[in-house]
């Protein structure tokens, strides 16, 4: 088990314990036949991204075919889980009732280390919104929001190192 996985599992417990986003009314992902492996990997504490088995191009969000070479041969490869904050917003009211207790909160767009075009949206866990900056190095973590559903989330790398 990797360090990332251990931290991920520890956080799954703490998130559930604090009820930070464990509100059943918050929208949950509805996986489809292309995205299901992404969400299944997240429940195992793994960040996996589609990669063309022929030309090796990464792609996100998931889709049936490689737009670069046209191949349907797809691999779900585990990525390092490291990235940097590419952009972010701080959400203020009005929001869905499920998010009301959290405002103001940051939503970040993270550029993954593997490819500058691999950008994913998430939250920075346990970081006050005013501390979020573009360029912050971050590492993935996993938050179980309800049983069987985990969201890839993010922590600043320095903070993770201290916690570890």
């Amino acid at each position: 088990m990797s360090g990332d996985e251990r931290r991920g599992r520890a956080n799954q417990r703490s998130a559930a314990g604090k009820g930070m986003m464990a509100n059943a009314e918050a929208p949950l992902p509805l996986p489809d036949d292309d995205s299901a492996p992404y969400w299944e990997a997240a429940t195992r504490g793994e960040l996996r991204v589609q990669r063309c088995a022929s030309c090796r191009a990464w792609r996100f969000p998931p889709r049936p075919r490689c737009p670069r070479c046209g191949s349907d041969a797809t691999a779900w490869e585990r990525v390092s889980g490291r990235g940097t904050v590419y952009s972010f917003v701080v959400v203020h009211p009005p929001v869905l009732p499920a998010f009301a207790a959290r405002v103001p909160f940051a939503v970040v767009l993270v550029e993954l280390a593997e490819d500058p075009q691999l950008r994913v949206v998430g939250n920075l866990l346990d970081v006050p919104a005013e501390r979020v900056r573009i360029g912050m190095p971050v590492v993935v973590d996993f938050e179980t929001v309800v049983a069987g559903v985990a969201l890839p989330q993010w922590r600043p790398i320095q903070e993770s190192a201290l916690a570890g």
Binding site: A26, P27, D32, P61, S87, F88, H92, Q117, V121, A129
Partner: protein, 380 residues
């Protein structure tokens, strides 16, 4: 298709926070007004183009107005990206002989009808499965993500965005139909509360009810009708690679919106350049969309949209490029940009309340950051 079709009639309801009647009634009212403006009747209409989000169907409109034979009906997608596309489709139908008089309309009770994002369900599929669970689900959040990166890369400021809001409100203050007519200052903008940082309340369009319609016919027929025609010099639609609606999270160039594609085709088809444009109606659901569009439609270089938005450059009567001369979605009414099309026609007729002197060419754009569309209107 250059110059083949023209907008011969415009009509709208009043704009209100709560219009007090259904979108269907408002649609019928706006379409009737546009036909009367053109000097036509429902019996002349043989085509309708609607937004796919429109609540009222073509058959309901035809039944209410007594349209005897619809030869052409179609709809455009992507919400506010589809406004100019309705006119473009109508013009194609006319150019190919499929129809002779086509009405395009939008009726929306967005003020009284609630916020679409508030109806987000417990399970979210499609592209939003990767964003909504994180609390990124309002349009303003998606545009704020773009705005923040633009600020980071180019030094664009909140005050640059504020200048767009100030210009629109200044123009609205001269328009008796506009919902918000009290002028605002940059200070008012900076003092307005955050909705999605870096965007503030005054960066956001109005939440309003209203309906608007335009009548499209051949340029030849338009010459004999009641009003001076606004010639359709060109229309375009576009979207680029790796697009996700409302933010290019995964595109090679995050700050490049579908407008880049629509702009390139539009000017190529018209045989003119941005320097020939006298006045522009630029889709303004949020102020940064105007800033980005100024770059993408070529009025300034990439990254210079912020400074170009400021310093009164967008303000009537003396600015380099008066923008949203009726007040736009930020201050007249937010009806998915159909009011921008109508105002473009007024500028070409010479009847705007902030009329640009001797204006001969008007750009109208639909929603940037979604698959979009655009028009170039010319004085007949």
């Amino acid at each position: 298709m250059r110059g083949v079709a023209a907008i011969a009639g415009i009509g709208h309801t009043e704009f209100a926070k709560n219009l007090g009647r259904s979108e269907r009634r408002a649609a019928v009212e706006a379409i009737s007004a546009a036909l009367a403006d053109a000097g036509l009747t429902a019996g002349d209409v043989d085509g309708l183009v609607r937004f796919d989000l429109e609540a009222t169907s073509e058959v309901e409109i035809a039944r209410s107005l007594g349209i005897p034979n619809l030869r052409f009906f179609a709809e455009t997608g992507y919400g506010g990206g589809g406004g100019c596309a309705t006119v473009g489709l109508a013009a194609m139908a006319i150019a190919t002989g499929r129809a002779s008089v086509v009405v395009c309309w939008r009726a929306r009770n967005r003020g009284s009808g609630g916020r679409p994002w508030a109806a987000t369900g417990n399970r979210v599929g499609g592209d939003a499965q990767f964003t909504a669970p994180y609390g990124l689900l309002r349009p303003v959040d998606q545009i704020a993500m773009i705005a923040r990166r633009h600020m980071h890369e180019y030094g664009t400021t909140s005050a640059h965005f504020g200048a767009v809001a100030v210009a629109c409100r200044k123009h609205a203050s001269r328009n008796p139909h506009a919902l918000m007519r009290d002028p605002i200052t940059l200070e008012d903008h900076q003092n307005s509360r955050f909705v999605s940082e870096p965007l503030r309340k005054l960066d956001c369009c109005l939440e309003s009810d209203g309906a608007l319609a335009v009548v499209v016919t051949s340029a030849e027929r338009a010459r004999d009708l009641a009003q001076p025609a606004a010639l359709l010099l060109a229309a375009s639609q576009g979207t680029g690679p790796e697009h996700v609606v409302m933010a290019n999270y995964h595109a090679p160039r995050f700050l490049e919106t579908p407008s880049t594609c629509a702009a390139r085709d539009l000017f190529a088809a018209a045989g003119v350049g941005p320097g020939d444009v006298d006045v522009a109606q630029i889709y303004d659901a949020f102020t940064p969309l105007v800033t980005l569009s100024l770059e993408e439609y070529g009025f300034c270089a990439a990254g210079e949209g912020g400074p170009f938005s400021a310093g009164g450059r967008l303000e009537w009567p003396d600015g380099e490029l008066p923008v949203n001369t009726s007040g736009g979605g930020l201050s007249e009414a937010y009806v998915h940009g159909m009011n921008l099309v109508v105002e473009g026609v007024r500028q070409m007729r010479g009847t705007s309340t902030s009329q640009v002197q001797d204006a001969e060419l008007c750009l109208v754009t639909s929603g940037a950051a979604v698959p979009t569309s655009a028009l170039l209107l010319a004085r007949a």
